[in-house]
């Protein structure tokens, strides 16, 4: 793709996707919804829309962790674990010590995971992929130990979380009460806060950021701690939605959260992207899942198709947008 030659239609599409990433993404989302409506006439309803939003929100929140870390060229594969641990601790501790202390302990545990990630990545310079996977493994081990020694008193899912996770108001999920301010804050912070700008700067050129006086380790430590905190909050929301405390509650969301960010136009190499696209990416994935479910394909086939579609869409987006 040279600058002088007339751009091919594909190159032009790539350009649009870099400059206005939301436009083609929303187009794709509408296309998917249309296909769904054709395959299953009558499926579209207010209830369906509310349900899709409800399912997409925890995914979109975990994908915020991926978006923020990917902006610096990193990734956080411990978000599913952090969310699961926060949910499990809340549900099992609430009957023992009461709801607010249980939530405090749960979020503190998530923050510890983030601090360990941040320490390894910022100070020891371990690659984020390895560091967060390693931390996730250790944390899961700790959870198993905890489960053997502490459980007995049963499980209590706090009312407030049930309201937030499953309740609806005027057909819309109550989780929007949490998600709308959250999304607004992330989108504001990525452009209008010093911290957000530094994420882009580090992802675009870490050496240049350093030469400009940025202590990169401070940013990494804060970022990974924040990421785990977001994951912990998501775990609480997810607990209210799924209504059971399991040892693998949010683990299946790990890879879809990465996929949502990538489909949403955030570069895995850092320096480019944003949360707006990620939210649409999460919606696309959710609609895709419900499409495959409604097509009544057996579980195995559905997973294979889901994986293939994620890979195809991601490869296409990267091909169109990553120019040297």
């Amino acid at each position: 793709m040279t600058m002088t030659a007339t751009p091919t239609p594909l190159a032009r599409l790539g350009r649009v996707m870099v400059d206005r990433p939301l436009v083609p993404l929303i187009g794709l989302l509408i296309l998917l919804v249309a296909i769904l409506a054709i395959l299953n006439p009558g499926v579209l309803s207010m209830f369906w829309a509310g349900n899709t939003l409800k399912i997409a929100i925890p995914l979109a929140m975990l994908a915020a962790c991926q978006t923020l870390t990917m902006l610096t060229g990193g990734i956080d594969l411990s978000v599913g674990t952090a969310a699961t641990i926060a949910a499990y601790l809340t549900a099992t501790l609430a009957p023992l010590i009461g709801v607010p202390p249980a939530i405090a302990v749960a979020l503190a545990a998530a923050v510890v995971i983030g601090l360990v990630n941040g320490f390894g990545i910022a100070i020891c310079r371990v690659h984020p992929l390895i560091m967060t996977l390693g931390t996730a493994l250790i944390a899961t081990g700790c959870l198993l130990v905890y489960q053997r020694y502490v459980i007995a008193t049963g499980v209590l899912i706090p009312e407030a979380l049930l309201w937030l996770g499953t309740g609806r108001t005027w057909g819309l999920p109550n989780s929007l009460v949490l998600f709308i301010p959250f999304a607004a804050l992330v989108i504001w912070a990525q452009r209008r806060s010093g911290f957000g700008r530094l994420l882009y700067a580090i992802g675009a050129n870490e050496a240049a950021a350093r030469l400009s006086g940025v202590r990169v380790w401070q940013v990494h430590l804060t970022l990974y701690t924040l990421s785990s905190l977001i994951a912990g909050v998501t775990g609480l929301l997810y607990l209210g939605q799924i209504k059971t405390a399991s040892l693998s509650l949010a683990l299946p969301l790990d890879l879809p959260s990465v996929a949502a960010a990538v489909i949403g136009g955030t570069s895995i190499f850092g320096g480019r992207g944003g949360y707006g696209g990620t939210i649409v990416g999460a919606l696309i994935l959710t609609v895709l899942t419900s499409m495959l479910t409604l097509m009544q394909i057996p579980e195995g086939g559905r997973r294979i198709l889901f994986g293939l579609i994620i890979l195809a869409v991601t490869a296409l987006f990267i091909r169109l947008t990553e120019r040297s």
């Binding site: 530094l198 882009y200 030469l211």
Partner: protein, 496 residues
């Protein structure tokens, strides 16, 4: 120009090469006979490295021919050059770090026995062939690279700055071996900034200037001055631009006082004072320690000895943020190290404003916009493509790297070759900007690879050779010949 030896082993004639708008080589020639060591010389930007790349087949010439033993070069890559009889040894060793010495030899199809012979001849008899390349010190790597080249028994050996950063005892051995090669009838092209080495082993010197071969002289006592003149050519007369008279220095303690600074192998002992309102030039040939000096002052590298005082109080920098806090801000030589290529002009200029923890919160957008606009205005940056810095021209990119520190507020500006590779109009804007900054009380350290710039932009210049300050020259005396002589470690001042 004396006639080329008719029995030239290597004969390059009329070589020309253009890169876009830049004519890097116009008419370069080089002849090397059997049993000769010929020095290839030229100031920065004379086209030396382009010429070397053409000789070794990395680049194809637009015009002219290169012949070895009368055969036309059909070389299209370095491996081809080797088959054809020319083997280069570069300043950066071309060895794979994660393989052992022996594996590297195997990769290059080089026999072990002659290699061993040359390694011990060159002063490293104990070299372990199973040692990983990455575990060896740089000096040993140079020896390994040279021994490998010798083991191939090439017709023509091309040595590019081979002795830079070698310890003296090894230099002596290397020079002896290179000379012995020539005495045994082979041909050597020797590239070096060091006149003492050239005097010791070379038979002739071919001098390049502005892409032309301007001279081919026999090496004899006193030839250094002539070579310097040839490298400068008419440019001495051309640079009649008025030299600045040195400004009276403030009585206050110097803004920046550097004493006995040392780091790595290249920067051995540098001291100077830089005052408010002063532009201090730094003149040095490539690799004399100036990169390390700027990196150390910017907090990007630690000094192993010496002190840095800012406004009279000693400082140590363990991170660029420390240097910035002390008012020392760097514009690095390579723009790619300074810029966020995929981000906007505004974001690039604003990072230092946000770098510190206390500025991580909400950005005061109005204030930031005003500072950025002021910096863009001061530097006259063309902002038509401001969405992504990568889409700007080289000159505008360079302006962005400087604008960043204008927005932050300049106290001591460290400019490393800020005008390299940019157009003359932008260069002039940068000189006058530097002048204005100094007049407003800033202190500027200005390394330049273009000697003529010292008179245009500086008050004084320190000349660094071999990691030390060898001379301090007032701008009014800083004609190119004087600077060049000093930069080559020859006697500093011109005899009156």
């Amino acid at each position: 120009m004396p006639d080329a030896p008719s029995d030239a082993v290597l004969d390059a004639t009329g070589v020309a090469k253009r890169f876009g708008a830049v004519q890097a080589l116009k008419n370069a020639s080089l002849q090397v006979g059997a049993g000769q060591v010929v020095a290839l010389m030229g100031a920065n930007g004379a086209g030396k490295s382009t010429f070397v790349k053409i000789l070794t087949g990395v680049l194809k010439p637009d015009a002219g021919h290169v012949r070895i033993r009368g055969r036309d070069s059909t070389v299209s890559n370095p491996a081809g050059a080797r088959k054809w009889g020319l083997v280069p040894v570069y300043q950066e060793p071309s060895l794979i770090p994660d393989l052992s010495v022996a594996d590297n030899l195997r990769l290059g199809d080089t026999a072990m026995a002659p290699f061993r012979h040359w390694v011990s001849e060159l002063g490293l008899p104990d070299l372990d062939p199973d040692a990983l390349i990455r575990s060896l010190p740089l000096a040993s790597l140079r020896i390994v690279d040279l021994a490998r080249a010798l083991a191939i028994e090439p017709d023509v050996l091309l040595l590019d700055e081979l002795t830079a950063a070698l310890p003296t005892d090894l230099v002596e051995r290397v020079l002896r071996v290179v000379r012995a090669q020539a005495d045994a009838g082979r041909s050597v092209i020797y590239i070096s900034h060091r006149f003492t080495e050239i005097a010791a082993i070379c038979d002739r010197a071919t001098v390049l200037r502005d892409g032309l071969t301007v001279g081919d002289v026999k090496i004899e006592p006193g030839i250094e001055e002539r070579i310097v003149e040839m490298m400068l050519g008419g440019s001495v007369a051309a640079a009649v631009t008025e030299g600045r008279t040195a400004r009276p220095l403030a009585a206050a303690p110097p803004r920046l006082s550097v004493k006995g600074l040392k780091t790595g192998t290249r920067l051995t002992d540098v001291s100077f004072d830089l005052h408010r309102g002063e532009v201090l030039g730094v003149v040095a040939l490539e690799g004399q320690g100036q990169d390390e000096l700027f990196d150390t002052l910017a907090g990007n590298r630690k000094a192993s000895a010496g002190t840095v005082e800012v406004d009279g109080s000693p400082r140590t920098f363990s991170h660029p943020a420390d240097a910035i806090a002390a008012g020392l801000t760097l514009v690095p030589g390579d723009r790619a190290h300074a810029l966020l290529m995929s981000r906007s002009v505004r974001e690039n200029i604003a990072i230092p404003l946000l770098a510190r923890f206390r500025n991580w919160g909400a950005i005061r957008m109005g204030e930031e916009a005003a500072k950025v606009a002021h910096a863009i205005e001061t530097l006259q940056i063309d902002t038509r493509a401001q969405g992504e810095v990568r889409r700007l021209s080289g000159g505008n990119q360079q302006k962005v790297t400087i604008a960043r520190w204008i927005a932050k507020g300049v106290q001591t500006l460290l400019l490393f070759d800020p005008t390299r590779g940019i157009d003359i109009r932008t260069k002039r804007q940068i000189y006058s900007l530097v002048r204005d900054l100094a007049d407003q009380g800033a202190a500027v350290l200005f390394y330049t690879s273009e000697l003529a710039e010292v008179r245009l932009a500086c008050d004084r210049a320190v000349v660094i050779f071999n990691g030390r300050v060898v001379d301090v020259i007032d701008a009014k005396d800083a004609d190119e010949a004087t600077l060049m002589r000093a930069a080559y470690g020859l006697t500093g001042k011109v005899p009156a």
